[in-house]
Subunit: 193 residues, 2 copies
Amino acid sequence: MGYKYNKEEILEVGYQVIRKNGYHHVGINQILKEAGIPKGSFYNFFESKEDFAKQVIQYYGEGNRKWLKGIFKDSKETPINTLKSFYKLLIDYNEEDNFCSGCLINNMGNETGRLYDSLAEETKEQFDQWLDLIADVVGKGQELGEITKRYSAKEIANYLHSGFYGTFFKMKVDRSRKDMDTWLHMTFEFIKA
Amino acid sequence: MGYKYNKEEILEVGYQVIRKNGYHHVGINQILKEAGIPKGSFYNFFESKEDFAKQVIQYYGEGNRKWLKGIFKDSKETPINTLKSFYKLLIDYNEEDNFCSGCLINNMGNETGRLYDSLAEETKEQFDQWLDLIADVVGKGQELGEITKRYSAKEIANYLHSGFYGTFFKMKVDRSRKDMDTWLHMTFEFIKA
DNA sequence: TTTAAATTAGACCAATTGGTTTATTTTTAA
DNA sequence: TTAAAAATAAACCAATTGGTCTAATTTAAA
């Protein structure tokens, strides 16, 4: 294996460019150009464009999972504030990025979720794995009496992250974090015990 | 003006096919084929694909605005239940559609909001006009003491509709209304006075 | 050291992309 | 009734799409 090119490097390029431009707006040739590889090598690594996208989703999902784990483990705050700081951090990142891209998982789910079964499946899988990590923190918050027990930890985690995805629409057409900040404030008022 | 083809009919075709497949995944030729018009006529009506999409967004936004007004005016329920029934109706429609498409405005905003200024502007405009109508009902609910006054009617309307958009991601990758129903239940618990 | 397999390389392919052009027909206004 | 304008029609365009093919090179195993 591993001759000249590194598969992860190609996936990283794919992640960047697909996250920003979407799946159908990006051609294989653009990936080749930005990754600096010839077509033969690309199709040596990946069966098709769809297979490539699937692996990009997987790569991004796994990378973020590790990052999430670290953040939650190292947090010095209480569970509810850990979560609030986490979403604030995501908003900050999107601001640094000039609100250009949003989340690859959300973008792919909305653009291709009903078009390609393999991508829907992979997208759902990565999202669900994130949700498990978030639900862990929610559960701890519930035990401490910080977060409402009227809904399960998983339901609240899903409410949080799906709700956060909902703010990307306005972020992109408004090019502002205003509504995201309002969402953060309102949501964390709503879910507290 | 009005010779052989009807512009609204072309916009309706464009709405259907772009809502389902996205902007970049749909070519002009597909529109021509489904609308049964030659290319010359298309470019007589529309300057470009981008201009066409912009008019599709406008057409859909205005049509829905009229529909919304009617629904809210005819409602026999209290404001908060009017809103809850409205979102339940939207979920029902998406189920009938087999969860295939979601909302054109949300799809376009996420796919093209940071790629084409004209589409972002039009998308935002139509969304904001819907929000005004929803905020009216929220405001009445606040006056009646049904809905929390901790946030403005506009903020709550935005929280509702953006939150609803957030549920489309899971709807599409999960092909189910389960999370939408949970969202509906939780959200209307949260916003009540 | 030889051989088979994996990888790299990019020319090549048919199909499609958004858009233009030219010609014809239809409508409107003078 | 005629001329100008508007609309219809589709052939045509260069550029790009995802993907294949053949050849050369590199690596690993025998």
